[in-house]
């Protein structure tokens, strides 16, 4: 939006500049025209009087004139007068004809207004000598006019007198209008002398505004009527007059103003069109880019079949093409990956199933002979034990014990393999109940033992029931086992300070902390079989189960100071 405003301002400035230029140009042209017209008018005016002047210049050279001037006497004057009268008879504009001596004194007069007071030399002798033959405009009673002064030459170029013709202005309004029209529409013409009378060829008019440069290049100003005009002035040769031609500025500037009036809306239109086109173009580009980024996001999200249309024929089309081919690759790679994964999963499942079947049959098939070994050893003991020496009975006892251990080992191995195979179930677990159950079993199996078991209330978690039962049983059995030689045995199962953490503590035999890292390795035992039985798989099993749940298992303890087995189970309620 601000951008649009800026553009409008730019168009406005541009239009204004164009207008100013046109205006300036129009003004310059107008000025030139005005000046030319003015000069033309000036020469026309001169030309109008020129013939009369030259005529009278010749007339002034008459002996009667020169004689009267040289020796003014009644006889010379009497000879002069009729001549003067004849000269004054025409043209009709001529009012008075006065002959002055070189010093300005009046010598003779003629003409219809000769009785009126004789004005003094209208044009100073120096001026006449310089070429000025017309005077400033004057009033003769009610009428306006001016005086044409002609030199009376004497011997060897001197001036002996002046012949002054007072003429009236007789131009009619029509004539003036005609001239004005010739000059130009709406133009006006004034003629006059600075500080003197100004006429428009017919009547007196107000002087031009004060301070105005009367001559010189055209200038704009407010005329006497208050209109802004463009006027120029030019001197009229041989006269003290300055002719000024004025054109109303409005007329002159109509063209540039019309230009501006057309230019500005046109400019805005072009601008709007341009902006719309530009925006349309950029929008098209933006839209295509948006589509591209949207498609990229969709593919990242998993829609591998997403493509972008390849429209047009520019760099964005190339980009779209490249994108599509890349998407194709991604889709292909994803499909290949999926099929690989499916294949591997199937293979894995197959392998798992085979393993399961193998473990199952192995454990089953291994157990049967074990049972036979154990059973028949006992049978021998019971049936024929009396007949055996002590050593024989002891041997058989070892056979039985070994078979039992192997059975436990097989069970543990089977359980260990099952934990990695089986799918983990996630169900709410009541660990308090589970532990209480296990302890009850332990007590039942060893009713003579007096162990203080403290199980905290409300121990809950999330996990696989069967597998977590194995863990708890392992930990509690261990605690039970290793407190067997402890008086005042105490086993505790409660929450630990860890988030989602639990702990099984006992005050039994403990373990050498230096070897703590071996605790959780399968078949690693920190006590000999004489001290405590166990296959050494239980903790490895528990660790694996907990890890599968996303939890941890670690132990603290020291020799003779009991042990604490900590574990975490995600999903344990706070």
């Amino acid at each position: 939006m601000a951008f649009l405003g800026l553009l409008i301002v730019v168009v406005g400035v541009f239009s204004w500049a164009a207008y100013q230029a046109a205006h300036g140009g129009a003004l310059v042209a107008a000025r030139a025209r005005v000046e030319a017209v003015t000069a033309q008018v000036a020469s026309i005016l001169v030309g109008n009087v020129e013939s009369f002047r030259s005529q009278r210049t010749a007339a002034a050279d008459d002996p009667r004139v020169t004689g009267a001037l040289a020796t003014p006497s009644p006889s010379t004057l009497a000879a002069l007068q009729p001549y003067l009268d004849s000269l004054a008879a025409s043209p009709t504009e001529l009012r008075t004809l006065v002959l002055h001596a070189a010093d300005g004194t009046v010598v003779a007069r003629a003409g219809r207004a000769a009785d009126e007071a004789t004005p003094p030399l209208p044009t100073a002798p120096e001026a006449v000598a310089a070429g000025q033959w017309a005077s400033a405009f004057q009033r003769y009673g009610p009428t306006l006019g001016f005086a044409v002064t002609v030199r009376v030459p004497g011997a060897s170029g001197t001036t002996v007198g002046f012949l002054v013709h007072h003429v009236e202005l007789t131009a009619t309004p029509d004539d003036a209008g005609g001239i004005a029209d010739l000059i130009g529409e709406g133009a006006s013409l004034v003629l006059g002398t600075p500080g003197g009378i100004w006429i428009d060829l017919v009547d007196e008019v107000p002087s031009p505004p004060e301070g105005l440069a009367l001559q010189g290049p055209a200038a704009s100003y407010e005329n006497a009527e208050g209109h802004t005009v463009l006027g120029a002035g030019a001197p009229v040769a041989g006269t003290p007059w300055i002719v000024r031609v004025e054109f109303p500025e409005d007329g002159l500037l109509a063209a540039p103003r019309a230009l501006l009036a057309r230019l500005f809306p046109l400019g805005l239109l072009v601008l709007a069109g341009g902006a719309a086109a530009g925006w349309g173009l950029s929008h098209r580009i933006t839209r295509r880019l948006d589509r591209l980024s949207g498609a990229a996001a969709a593919i990242a999200d998993g829609d591998y079949q997403r493509r972008v249309p390849e429209e047009g024929d520019d760099e964005l089309t190339d980009l779209a093409r490249a994108f599509n081919s890349m998407a194709q690759q991604v889709e292909g790679a994803h499909e290949r990956l999926e099929s690989e994964v499916a294949k591997r999963t199937a293979e894995l499942r197959g392998a798992n199933r085979e393993l399961e079947a193998f473990s199952y049959s192995v454990s089953h098939d291994l157990r049967a002979p074990l049972r036979a070994i154990h059973g028949f050893s006992r049978a021998v003991m019971e049936d024929h034990g009396a007949a055996l020496p002590e050593a024989g009975r002891a041997d058989l006892a070892r056979v039985c014990a070994a078979a039992e251990r192997m059975g436990a080992l097989i069970d543990d191995l089977l359980a260990l393999s099952r934990t990695t195979r089986a799918e983990l179930r996630h169900e709410p677990l009541d660990l308090t109940a589970m532990a209480t159950d296990i302890v009850a079993d332990l007590r039942h199996g060893a009713p003579d033992r007096d162990v203080d078991v403290r199980i905290a209330d409300g121990l809950v978690a999330q996990g696989d029931h069967a597998l977590m039962r194995l863990v708890l049983r392992n930990l509690l059995e261990n605690a039970w086992k290793f407190t067997a030689r402890q008086d005042g045995a105490v086993i505790e199962f409660a929450r630990s300070a860890e988030p989602e953490g639990f702990v099984v503590r006992d005050n039994g035999a403990g373990f050498d902390a230096d070897y703590a890292h071996k605790l959780f390795k399968p078949f690693q035992r920190l006590h000999s079989a004489d001290e405590f039985e166990g296959s050494g798989v239980g903790l490895a099993l528990s660790l694996r189960i907990l890890e599968r749940h996303g939890g941890r298992l670690w132990a603290e303890g020291s020799e003779g100071q009991g042990a604490a087995f900590h574990f975490t189970l995600p999903g344990g309620a706070p």
Binding site: Y360, S363, H364, R367, A368, P369, L370, R371, A372, H374, G375, F376, S377, R378, A379, C400, A403, E404, M406, G407, A466
Partner: protein
Amino acid sequence: MTISEGGSDVILLVEDNPDDHELTRRALEDNGIANEIVWARDGVEALDYLFCRGPWQDRDPTVQPQVVLLDLKLPRVDGIEVLRAIRADASTSLVPVIVLTSSLEENDLVRSYGNGANSYVRKPVDFTEFREAVRSLGLYWLLLNEAPPPRGRTG
């Protein structure tokens, strides 16, 4: 002592392993259970007995075992199939069947109970434990448990 409540006093032991058979027999003997033990070595022999076929065709069909001790892993016809056959036939469908096996696979548990086994007992390696288990079984199934009435009789 023979423990029975009318009907038969036969314990049908379906077990392919001779050692296990011998141990079971001993365990029963050690516990003073003197019921006749019929030993079927696989599923086929078991069914032959139950349905008076083959070598057992002259048997009285109205006399059914008081209890069947059934191992699962048997050659030819396996334990689950035997179980199904027992439950499918009206003449045998009520006979108590105890699955006695070394497997503790959940699958086997589900299938056994699902097909109508009355009980599922795991054979321990330790013979003492086994003997104790057999004693419990004997006390319960042969003494305490009310056997279903023999078929062929009304009411």
